[in-house]
Amino acid sequence: MWKWLHPYANPEVSYHFTGKILPWLGALATLFLSIGIIWALAFAPADYQQGDSFRIFYVHVPAASLSMGIYFGMAIAAFTSMVWQFKLADASAAAMAPVGAIFTAIALITGAAWGKPMWGTWWIWDARLTSELILLFLYLGVIALHNAFEDKNLAGKAAGILTLVGVINLPIIKYSVEWWNTLHQGSTVSKLGKPSMSIDMLWPFVFCFIGFALLVATIICIRFRSEILTRNSIRPWVRTLVSEHLSKHIAQEKNNAI
């Protein structure tokens, strides 16, 4: 079952493969994001209740769901690396952590900027916000652990353990805060009646969401490639690649000088 995956488990192959798809990912991300953001800012209708502040939605919601999604991906990578001793999985987890942290921070900041005019406060200790904040702490812990070990392989394993412990912790925290502070008492405190999101608001959201997802994929790809290089720095293919790259660089500088 895993056989077809095997060629991609080779660091060299995946380095070159990600190098090939990277420009396409980047171009698609730019396309979707520019359409989505312009549509969201200038053309989407304002919400009947929240007015134009509703436009924050187009950054906030994709960032929040991607921050969770990236953590989930990181946990899967940690699990694969632990069970199947799959070194590339560690590299991908290391590539995901900073991206996830930044998107969690974006979700928190945009959430606060939206909450201030709408709820009347920058911050509420409710289930979603608190668990998102803990998610940020977990990301920071994982990053700190990655940096604390000199040996990247060990760092990957240690961070993997923390990631998996965090996965169990996240739903507990979400649930615990729901009990402790019941501002989000689901159906009872929400408005009555159920009009779904109107279609001319939904389309820009779809574009924004796909655009952000592609952007995340692009950045993870870039970081993943650097991680592969650091972890395989003694391999001959990395050596030749580096020397080729450097000689090209030197030639370019000479050209510039002339």
Binding site: E150, D151, N153, T230, S233, I234
Partner: protein
């Protein structure tokens, strides 16, 4: 590189295949192959920082190599951990002696943990074998570094393990002590055990050809 292939009829006690070790992004050794049989005494040599300690830690299962496998009785050590550790005695740079416990308590705990038989009488005997008579009940924190080392070396006298992996066992030990240890090694390999050690001194009680050597040097390719 093999140390001894003459006795290929009996399977080697420890064998190592394609061992590669990287520390701090530096290649310490590459594609190392070793076979160690019962009755071998192996000395690992090399300049400082050439990976002697790393090799011993990988052999004992404390560290994982970048690549390659270590087998004990032709089984991966990660898969036969309990059997392997039952037959292994590893003494690293650190003596593993608690300052808050007396010499006798330290030895007794270490022996019991390892599963070696012990009681108050033979603990005292063992400690006297390493010249610690009279210090049995003093707290280890009141003893010197050399005495700490001797407490940890005392375990060798009671060990039932076949494989001894010793990282610089002679540091802080006087000449007489070194001689006693070497005699102990001799008895151990005669009984079908093996000793793997690092030391900067020559093993004087052994014939030079009796000691197998693994020489590590800086590798770049």
């Amino acid at each position: 590189m093999s140390v001894n292939q003459a006795t290929s009829l009996t399977p080697p006690l420890i064998s190592v295949t394609n061992l590669t070790c990287i520390r701090e992004e530096r290649l310490l050794f590459d594609q190392l192959n070793i076979e160690i049989n019962a009755g071998d005494i192996v000395q690992v040599e090399g300049p400082n920082g050439s990976g002697k300690t790393s090799l011993l830690r990988i052999l004992s299962g404390l560290s994982q190599p970048f690549e390659g496998e270590v087998f004990f009785n032709q089984q991966l050590i990660s898969q036969s951990r309990e059997e392997f550790h039952q037959d292994l005695l590893y003494l690293g740079h650190l003596p593993g002696v608690k300052g808050e416990m007396s010499a006798a308590e330290n030895l007794s705990f270490n022996l019991t943990l390892q599963g070696a038989p012990n009681n108050a009488v033979n603990i005292e005997k063992t400690l006297s074998a390493v010249n610690l008579t009279g210090f049995e009940d003093s707290l280890a924190s009141h003893l010197s570094a050399g005495q700490h080392r001797r407490i940890s070396l005392a375990r060798l006298y009671k060990s039932t393990a076949k494989i001894w992996i010793l990282d610089e066992p002679f540091t802080a030990i006087d000449k007489q002590g070194v001689r006693a240890l070497e005699l102990l090694f001799k008895a151990h390999i005669k009984q079908g055990g093996c000793v793997i050690l690092t030391t900067h001194q020559d093993l004087l009680t052994f014939e030079p050809e009796q000691v197998k050597k693994i020489t590590l040097d800086y590798v770049f390719d």
